[in-house]
């Protein structure tokens, strides 16, 4: 029987179930706890927090998560890998260290901190060196938004995490590591895979992709046979049980709810998929058309046959920039003729906005309960018992958006009838922080690993 390494997922995004990390370390054996906190938008939110307070800029949920698993890490040898560092991994490490002292385990918590992904201070230097940082989707040059950039982080791979583990860290905190690297790195470390063993590296990436969204592969948000998925209230988060040859199983702790089957795993495999022949990461390009998935017992799925090839010489950079303001207002119109009343209210609102001379980059109307998410495919909404009118606007000018937020409430008394659902007050104006994907040469990015010491 070959050796098995178990990596359990405890968070799939910042805002995920607070109970999950503790349940992963208490429900049965795992070797590594993987916590993924970062989405495209998260980095810019964290950057704003850091601007207000230089000791912030990381996912604060992580400190609570660590407190709930300290004993497993300190006494049972479970190691934690998390991209909770956001735009300030050292501050995150300091907060975890402070919490560890409070719990009397500081001497047994060795925190490895990965930095080097933050390229915000280097943007002009990179531009001067000929790195265009053009938008990957629209090809626009960075100059379009240069003066509005809030944060810029390169997606980094498994290398520095492995380095931290080799230096004896039992908690590894990174900034913008790829989600998949958090799972692949401990496998690379444990099995000592060669850095050009493309098939095994690709297997580690696919394992990471399957568990990076937490319960979304173990019965959560699963369409297939959703009525019969047992005990979602007690849903078990996924665990990768990997072997040295790159074969792995997806399972969950016994006695937990949810389900792991070929169907639940494949639903997650296709999530956010682009070209399946080339799933590009900093360490390897995985071929999703090579993945073999088979049921291997109750709540147990075998994944094998994965192939990979060498990565490109670029890293993706996630740049966040200020992109104006937006607000969304809603009202509920009720039978009879709910949809017609809602349509009339939308026309009245737009006429008033127009007469006020307000100009928006975009104004978008939806009729929830009729056509909001499925468009004309959903029919025309006639005879609906109630329809929510939802109007959103966006503009570079805050005052324009503010004025819009004053135009919703009056409709309750001076617009079409049978209207309700205005308990929440005026819509809030929020600043839009948009996302600009770009590429940078790998040789421009140098990561660093430090063992935290107060």
């Amino acid at each position: 029987m070959s050796r098995t390494v178990r990596v359990g997922a405890g968070q799939g995004f910042w805002g995920d179930w607070l109970e999950a990390p503790r349940r992963q370390v208490e429900g049965g054996p795992i070797d590594y706890l993987m916590l993924d906190y970062l989405a495209e938008v998260t980095m810019s939110i964290l950057q704003k927090q850091k601007e207000r307070d230089p000791s912030m800029g990381y996912a604060r949920d992580f400190v609570g998560a660590m407190e709930s698993v300290f004993s497993a890490v300190a006494d049972r040898g479970v190691r934690v890998i998390a991209n909770a560092g956001g735009v300030n991994p050292p501050a995150s490490a300091a907060a975890v260290h402070t919490a560890a002292r409070k719990h009397g385990v500081a001497d047994r918590i060795r925190i490895g901190v990965v930095t080097g992904d933050d390229v915000l201070p280097r943007i002009d230097d990179l531009l001067a060196k000929g790195q265009a940082l053009a938008n990957m989707d629209t090809r626009e040059p960075l100059a379009t938004i240069r003066d509005r950039v809030l944060s810029a982080n390169a997606y980094i791979g498994a290398g520095p995490i492995v380095q931290a583990l080799r230096q004896g860290a039992n908690v590894v905190i990174t900034g913008r590591s790829t989600d998949t690297a958090l799972t692949m790195a401990p496998l690379l470390h444990e099995f000592d895979w060669k850095r050009d063993d493309w098939d095994r590296l690709a297997a580690g990436i696919v394992a990471g992709h399957i568990i990076e969204c937490g319960a979304q592969c173990s019965g959560g948000n699963c369409l297939f046979d959703w009525r019969n998925i047992p005990d979602l209230a007690d849903v078990g988060y996924p665990i990768v049980e990997a072997q040295a040859d790159g074969t792995f199983y997806i399972t969950k702790h016994p006695g937990t709810g949810g389900r792991i089957s070929r169907h639940t795993v494949i639903e997650q495999l296709v999530y956010e998929m682009g070209n399946p022949h080339e799933y590009i990461t900093p360490d390897v390009i995985a071929d999703f058309t090579s993945i073999q998935v088979e049921d291997a017992g109750p709540d147990r799925v075998k994944v094998s046959g994965i192939t990979g090839k060498p990565p490109t010489d670029k890293l993706k950079v996630s740049i966040a920039y200020r992109a104006g303001f937006k607000a969304v207002g809603t009202l509920v119109y009720v039978w009879p003729d709910a949809i017609e009343k809602a349509r009339l209210a939308d026309r009245v609102l737009r006429q008033r906005l127009d007469r006020l001379g307000l100009r928006f980059e975009e104004i978008h109307t939806e009729f929830l309960g009729a056509t909001a998410t499925h468009g004309a495919l959903a029919g025309d909404g006639r005879d609906a018992p109630e329809i929510q009118l939802r109007v959103g606007v966006r503009s570079a000018d805050r005052a324009t958006v503010e004025r819009f937020t004053r135009e919703i409430a009056p409709l309750v008394l001076n617009g079409p009838p049978s209207v309700t659902g205005f308990a929440g007050g005026r819509p809030k104006t929020e600043e839009v922080v948009a996302y600009w994907p770009a590429l940078v040469d790998k040789r421009e990015i140098t990561t660093r690993v430090e063992m935290y010491s107060p």
Binding site: V41, N221, M273
Partner: protein, 118 residues
């Protein structure tokens, strides 16, 4: 016979910028060839006409009994720029499953396809 896609396949969708992806998966391996034959790029583009502003791309994953569709220009700018309820394309999956397929009676019976649709 008419077959509702929702009765023979499941799906999940997500976003990348202003592009939504829809992965559609046959409920049984034996039913996958129906998807591969019937869900052409053209038919899916027609299905989503008016809902997306860009082209449709299709990839086949016979190993997973799945097809992956990329719907470009689906999300009103995508991410935080979007004013849509479904800014991250989470329910384009079930929008695709609204399709009704025409399958020869003989084949439908042999494969045990559930009859449906009008």
């Amino acid at each position: 016979m008419k077959v509702r896609l929702v009765d023979i396949a499941h799906a999940r969708s997500g976003d990348k910028g202003d592009t939504a992806n829809v992965g559609v998966i046959a409920m049984r391996t034996a039913w996958y060839p129906i998807l591969e034959r019937e869900l052409t790029t053209e038919r899916v583009a027609t299905h989503f006409r008016g809902m997306i502003t860009g082209p449709v791309e299709r990839y086949a994953l016979p190993n997973l009994d799945a097809l992956n569709f990329l719907l470009h220009g689906a999300l009103g700018g995508g991410g935080t720029l979007s004013l849509k309820t479904d800014a991250q394309g989470k329910v384009f999956s079930t929008a695709l499953l609204r399709m009704v397929l025409d399958v020869p009676d003989e084949e439908g019976r042999t494969l045990g396809l559930p009859r449906g649709g009008q």
